[in-house]
């Protein structure tokens, strides 16, 4: 049932980095880890809306650039003492291309 939308070449996102996707309801950040996994999350920290795409990526987490909250890329959960969660969307790499589950756009409309 899920259809995948082609986004861009994996190489357009730096290793341990992120880039943004514009959607009608704000930006989604696509992260690439050191081992070439990709994850898609809302680009807003649960703390004070820090732009997560600008954070430092390590293992499967990103550190928010504003006040250093650490967020799991897999679950969107805030790590450590702080609490909160960011919405995540299914993403994967197929033949060197990043693709996102089309249903994610729908999900965002509901959110």
């Amino acid at each position: 049932m899920s259809t995948w939308i082609d986004i861009a070449a994996l190489d357009s996102v730096p290793k341990r980095g992120a880039r943004l996707i514009k959607t009608a309801l704000g930006c989604v950040a696509v992260f690439r880890t050191g081992t070439d996994e990709v994850f898609a999350l809302d680009n807003a920290c649960p703390h004070k809306n820090g732009p997560l795409a600008e954070g430092i990526v390590h293992d499967k987490a990103v550190t928010c650039p504003l006040h250093n909250w650490v967020i799991s890329l897999e679950t969107g959960m805030v790590q450590g003492e702080d609490t909160g969660q960011v919405a995540t969307y299914p993403a994967r790499v197929v033949d060197g291309r990043i693709t996102l589950d089309a249903a994610f756009l729908k999900q965002r409309e509901v959110a």
């Binding site: 943004l20 514009k22 009608a24 996994e37 809306n49 293992d59 550190t63 756009l105 965002r108």
Partner: protein
């Protein structure tokens, strides 16, 4: 008897023949075509033939006797040119052969990058015996240069073989680390180190631009301008299925010849096997799955049941002394966790990837003795929840072996320098301990190690602990972060003495406990590496805080501020006009004069940064680095130009200093000021480095601050000329860069090493000159405008996709 014709006498069809003949020798008449003028040999053993460890005779699988005995008609040295499916006939150069069943096993063809010069004599692929012999011939005299393009399995085996034959080999690899499909960067680092130890040069991130030469290959040129001499070039950049004959016959072909699980092509009388096939979207490049395919294909021809199921694969490299192993999937997928183990003493690295309490991937380097055990866990999808805590230590350690925080120091050779100030090596400290020095004070007294700046104290204590065992208890020291047990000072010494020049090298040799560090250690390591190895290390943008990655200060709403440099606080009407224009054009909400004598444009959108920089660049302005752990501003007063008390040209000196120091990275921010007389209007005595001009010269003082701590500077020295002032400031800056802990301002660093030690560094004129020289070497790389550079990659500041329209549908 039916006629079976086979195209290709390779490793896959060889197995098919063995299975068929063993099951029923009377079922088929065989005709075997092969383009190579020989029958089946063990292709994977070409590497030992290349290195001289084996001869061709030793790797032949089926010889003439075997083919004769089993009634296989051989058509070797004859390529099949076409297939007539209507007539069920195969066409070779020496005549047609009819078939009832046809087996295509044409393997694959090496990929040749179509750069200029790729067809010169001396450029070869690595696929068959003829290629191997051509390489052996090229290595006829010692020391001849060879270039191998491609740092994957084949390329590295070729490189190692050629090196053993005495050639001087360089490997060019496109990716950032070797064998990136099988290894992660950490294991790739260890492999590179082992290869370099045997004299093979490795050039990663290298894109081949052209192969040079007139009648024969003479060299290889890369995109970055590097040129390597070469009397032989081996291209080992990949393979693609050899499906030409099948495609021309109208069979369904995608990347390879499409087959079902019974190895049947789109024509039921034609089957295919080996590297030439594509099954369920997959291609195959290792023999294990081909052997499974061969078994299935034989069953189908004998009209039995059979079905091919791809299994997990594992990889090893056949280069003696490079012990590596990788299996399963250690790259993609959600819900996974890593376990990492490093033993720098033995050069061991292991990484396990776990998903849903099962092992799904493993990468190992150095010690692969347990690889089969791990591979078994992956293949059998064993539940590992119970042994999770000790899993990484392998089957023998199911009781648990804690990682040893001292192993990195234990691994150091006796020649490793521990104390940089006094040039004391580990061996000298060990000797002192053996002679009775059993604590830090005694070591200081007998060897002088850690008696000067003291930053190596941690390492000296670790040598004591390693040598004395339980008799020495290390005072607790603060490690950089949870990724390591080492302190900043320990890691800095390791980077220098062990010549660690990449992140991977530091993680491995210092025993990092995570796979790729964290937001605390990575920026520090990035700084240490670029400060110590400015020419060798490439700055890693992903290890920098956003301000330094994007060369602008992030604001609380995610916008940025833009501060162009105003050298020494001097500006012009033209610059002010350009700033005003930019502020209007990009609707900058706030324009403010900063405390650093320049103008801040606050609230610029991330996407607009390259465009506003471009406008400012065009008006002659560059980045003010208002965001950097590096030189910020040199504040000045008006000095002799206008002021009735001025003693020297403070504005002019400030501008010269700013033009010399700008772009340099330092452990924390670096602010300077030059005042024209002791009235000190530029507030020079609360800066990191301050200059007060006096009639007789220049008083240089350091260690001031006016932030969370307010400090007055302390006098470093007084000199007579401007030129000497600039030299002293470069030297003290370089000493700070080389020795301080990341995020220590100068006053904190001086607090640790002592003002006397810093004075000694500067007073010793040879040392001062050496510091100045090293500062200049670093500035040859970093004294440039990052804005201008980023304007050329403006697209990286834009979103990668715009789905606003799709959502509207």
């Amino acid at each position: 008897m039916k006629n079976a014709v086979i195209i290709g006498a390779g490793m896959a069809s060889g197995r098919v023949l063995e299975h068929l003949i063993e099951a029923d020798p009377e079922a088929f008449n065989f005709t075997l075509f092969n383009s190579e003028p020989r029958g089946n040999y063990n292709r994977i053993m070409l590497s030992p033939v290349l290195s001289g460890e084996k001869s061709y005779a030793e790797i032949v699988t089926h010889d003439d006797g075997w083919y004769g005995q089993n009634k296989v008609t051989c058509r070797f040295g004859e390529a099949v040119t076409s297939i007539d499916r209507e007539a069920k006939v195969v066409r070779g150069a020496n005549g047609d052969v009819p078939y009832d069943k046809l087996i295509i096993a044409t393997g694959s063809a090496p990929f040749i990058i179509p750069v200029p010069g790729h067809d010169l004599p001396g450029v070869i692929a690595y696929r068959d015996l003829d290629d191997t012999n051509a390489m052996i011939d090229a290595a006829d005299a010692p020391g001849k240069p060879a270039v191998v393009i491609g740092g994957g399995l084949l390329g590295l085996e070729a490189a190692a073989g050629l090196a053993l034959r005495g050639m001087s080999v360089t490997v060019i690899h496109l990716n950032g680390h070797l064998m990136e499909r099988q290894l992660d960067p950490a294991a790739g680092y260890l492999l590179q180190k082992d290869l370099e130890n045997r004299g093979i040069k490795v050039h990663c991130n290298g894109a081949t631009k052209a192969i040079l030469g007139t009648d024969r290959v003479e060299g290889v040129e890369l995109d970055d301008g590097t040129v390597y001499d070469a009397s032989l070039v081996v291209m080992a950049v990949g393979i693609r299925p050899e499906a030409t004959v099948a495609k021309n016959a109208g069979l369904e072909v995608n990347r390879g010849i499409l087959v079902n699980a019974q190895m049947e092509t789109s024509d039921p009388d034609i089957l295919a096997v080996g590297e030439c096939v594509e099954f369920d979207g997959q291609l195959f490049g290792l023999v294990a799955p081909l052997y499974d395919q061969a078994k299935v294909l034989a069953k189908i021809l004998l009209e039995e049941e059979g079905s091919f199921v791809p299994k997990e694969l594992s990889t090893k490299l056949k280069v003696t002394g490079c012990d590596l192993f990788s299996a399963g999937d250690f790259a993609e997928g959600e819900g996974r966790e890593d376990i990492v183990f490093r033993d720098p003493a033995r050069g061991v690295y292991r990484r396990l990837v776990i998903e849903d309490d099962q092992l799904v991937g493993a990468v190992m380097y150095g010690d692969t003795a347990d690889s089969n055990w791990f591979f078994g866990l992956i293949r059998d999808k064993t539940e590992i929840a119970d042994m999770r805590d000790t899993l990484i230590f392998g089957p023998a350690f199911q009781g648990g072996a804690p990682s040893d925080p001292l192993s990195a120091v234990a691994a150091l050779p006796r020649e490793a320098e521990i104390c940089g100030c006094n040039g004391i090596c580990k061996g000298q400290i060990e000797d002192a301990i053996a002679a009775g020095a059993t604590d830090l004070t005694a070591i200081k007294a007998t060897t002088k190690a850690s008696a000067s700046c003291g930053t190596c104290t941690g390492l000296v204590e670790q040598v004591l602990a390693v040598t004395l065992g339980d008799d020495f208890v290390i005072p607790a020291a603060q490690s950089i972060c949870a990724c390591t047990d080492m302190t900043h000072e320990d890691v800095r010494r390791m980077i220098k003495s062990q010549e660690l020049k990449s992140m991977e090298a530091v993680w491995q040799e210092c025993g990092w406990k995570t796979s790729c560090g964290c937001h605390v250690c990575r920026p520090a390591l990035n700084y240490y590496l670029l400060a110590d190895w400015p020419l060798e290390y490439t700055d890693d943008a992903q290890s920098r805080f956003i301000n330094e990655r994007k060369h602008a200060n992030i604001q609380k709403d995610g916008t940025f501020s833009v501060v162009p440099r105003m050298w020494g606080g001097i500006t012009t009407p033209d610059e002010l006009r350009a700033i005003a224009d930019a502020a209007e054009k990009f609707a900058v909400p706030t324009v403010k004069v900063t405390g650093g004598q320049r103008i801040d444009l606050l609230g610029v959108k991330g996407e607009d940064l390259p465009a506003i920089w471009k406008d400012l660049n065009d008006a002659g302005m560059v980045s003010g680095h208002a965001y950097s752990k590096g030189l910020r501003t040199v504040k000045t007063c008006v000095g002799t130009d206008h002021c009735r008390f001025g003693t020297q040209d403070s504005t002019g000196l400030g501008i010269k200093l700013e033009k010399t120091l700008w772009g340099s990275w330092t452990p924390h921010k670096l602010k300077l000021a030059v005042s024209g007389c002791p009235r000190n209007c530029a507030e020079a005595t609360c800066k990191d480095i301050g200059v007060i001009c006096v009639d007789s010269g220049y008083q240089i003082s350091i260690g001031g601050a006016a932030g969370m701590d307010v400090r007055e500077t302390e006098l470093l020295c007084q000199v007579a000329t401007e030129a000497e002032t600039i030299d002293v400031i470069k030297a003290v800056t370089q000493s700070y860069r080389e020795n301080a802990k990341y995020l220590d301002r100068i006053y904190k660093w001086v607090g640790k090493v002592g003002m006397d030690w810093v004075k000694e560094q500067i007073e010793d004129l040879d040392n001062r000159a050496a510091l100045v020289e090293r500062f200049e070497i670093s500035q040859s790389v970093y004294r440039k405008d990052p804005w201008a550079e980023h304007v050329t990659k403006a697209e990286t500041y834009q979103p990668i996709a715009d789905l606003t329209l799709e959502a509207a549908e």
